[in-house]
């Protein structure tokens, strides 16, 4: 009996084989649904994400570089502009100060000239006045001398008195 069962099994294991194949196919379907499908999907998604992240990072890097270059250029231009402004301002200031100094010099020279002229005219006037006074005095002294015959002492006293009078004036 046992031997017969065994030999039948050996001769016709079709049932077991079909069972194994069928069970394996079912297992494949189950695994596809629970493991293979979700896993391959998520692996693809991850690969896509990594790719897009890398691309995005590259693009951002490039953008940042171009922005940096642009800023650098702008900065250089700004510096150039600033130095131009400063030198222009310096030039203007120098011109202004030069013209101011020039004007001041001119004014001073004019004032000095006027003062000299004033002094000259005053001097001449004083001389004229003095001349007039001396002439008057001389006439006075002469008239006094002529009016009175005087001794030498009297003459001396007279001149001294006159000089004292003159000094008091």
């Amino acid at each position: 009996m046992m031997l017969q069962t065994l030999s039948m099994e050996k001769a016709m294991p079709l049932g077991d084989m079909l069972f194994i194949i069928f069970a394996f196919l079912v297992l494949m379907v189950v695994l596809k649904h629970f493991a293979w499908g979700p896993l391959t999907k998520v692996l693809d998604e991850r690969a896509d994400k990594i790719n897009s992240d890398l691309d995005g990072a590259e693009k951002k890097n490039k953008d940042a570089q171009s922005l940096f270059d642009q800023r650098e250029k702008e900065l250089a231009a700004g510096k150039e502009q600033a130095s131009q402004l400063i030198s222009a301002a310096k030039k203007t200031a120098k011109e202004q100060s030069d013209s101011l100094i020039q004007a001041a010099n001119d004014q001073v020279a004019g004032m000095r000239k006027t003062a000299e002229q004033d002094a000259d005219s005053m001097k001449v006037e004083a001389m004229n006045t003095a001349k007039k006074d001396v002439a008057g005095l001389s006439v006075n002294i002469a008239s006094k001398l002529i009016q009175k015959e005087l001794s030498e002492d009297d003459q001396r006293a007279l001149i001294d008195a006159y000089l004292a009078e003159l000094g008091q004036q």
Partner: protein
């Protein structure tokens, strides 16, 4: 192989309890593993997802080494299922062997059964041959299989196809069956010698179990790799 078996009949076909129960148990474990490790699939993987993603990458690597991209992709699901089933099947008998009162083995490694190993080999070769026909057309497939590199090689090529099939199945079966046989012998030793046999048997059993774990993983890898190699050969991808 000459163990007593217990069978049942359904729709005129005979089924062996050992085969049915062991296979179903192994597949249940595979499904539980796969479902448990992929409960929350996310772009940023959790620890469980990392484990099964590693397995998936490993299988894809085996296929990618042998096959061009499109064939590797179309074989992916089959190889993934095959690998998980083989790993679980090969290791299952190391932990669990159940016998009924009548000394009929109910649960052991499914792949220690030559019938299951042969069936898996037949499936792999069917896929390999089918891929060959799909890629080369039927005439090109025959020519590639039998008349390469030249027609005089025909007899050797026929022999090669047969040995491919036999080695694929027998390598798997032989390794796992021998591993379990050795474990059983060591277990018998443990209960002999007036109850002191376990002193010698325990370290031997531990060492052999570790070795068998390694063998089981290697055989699963080899089986999937040979499937990929045969597919590549039969579709002219060498």
């Amino acid at each position: 192989m000459d163990e007593p078996t217990s069978t049942f009949s359904l729709l005129g076909l005979t089924f062996t309890w050992t085969t049915v129960v062991s296979t179903l148990l192994a597949m249940t474990i595979v499904v539980l593993l796969a479902v448990g490790l992929t409960r929350k699939v996310a772009i940023r993987p959790s620890r469980g997802q990392n484990v099964i993603e590693y397995v998936l990458d490993f299988v894809r690597g085996i296929l990618g080494d042998q096959l061009p991209g499109n064939l590797a992709r179309s074989l992916g699901l089959y190889a993934f299922t095959l690998f998980l089933f083989l790993v679980v099947s090969n290791e299952m008998g190391l932990l669990l062997q159940v016998k009924t009162g009548a000394d009929v083995t109910l649960i052991k490694s499914p792949t220690a059964d030559p019938l299951i190993a042969f069936t898996l080999a037949i499936m792999s070769l069917m896929i390999a041959h089918g891929t060959g026909v799909k890629v080369l057309g039927f005439g090109g497939y025959l020519k590639n299989m039998f008349f390469k590199p030249y027609a005089a090689m025909f007899p050797l090529n026929v022999v090669e196809q047969i040995t491919n099939f036999l080695t694929l199945a027998l390598r798997l079966f032989g390794n796992i069956f021998a591993g379990e046989l050795m474990l059983n012998l060591l277990a018998q030793l443990a209960f002999s010698l007036n109850g002191f046999g376990w002193i010698a048997a325990l370290p031997l059993e531990m060492a052999w179990q570790a070795f068998s774990l390694l063998i089981g993983g290697i055989q699963a890898y080899v089986f999937v790799m040979l499937t990929a190699v045969f597919t590549a050969q039969l579709s002219g991808q060498e």
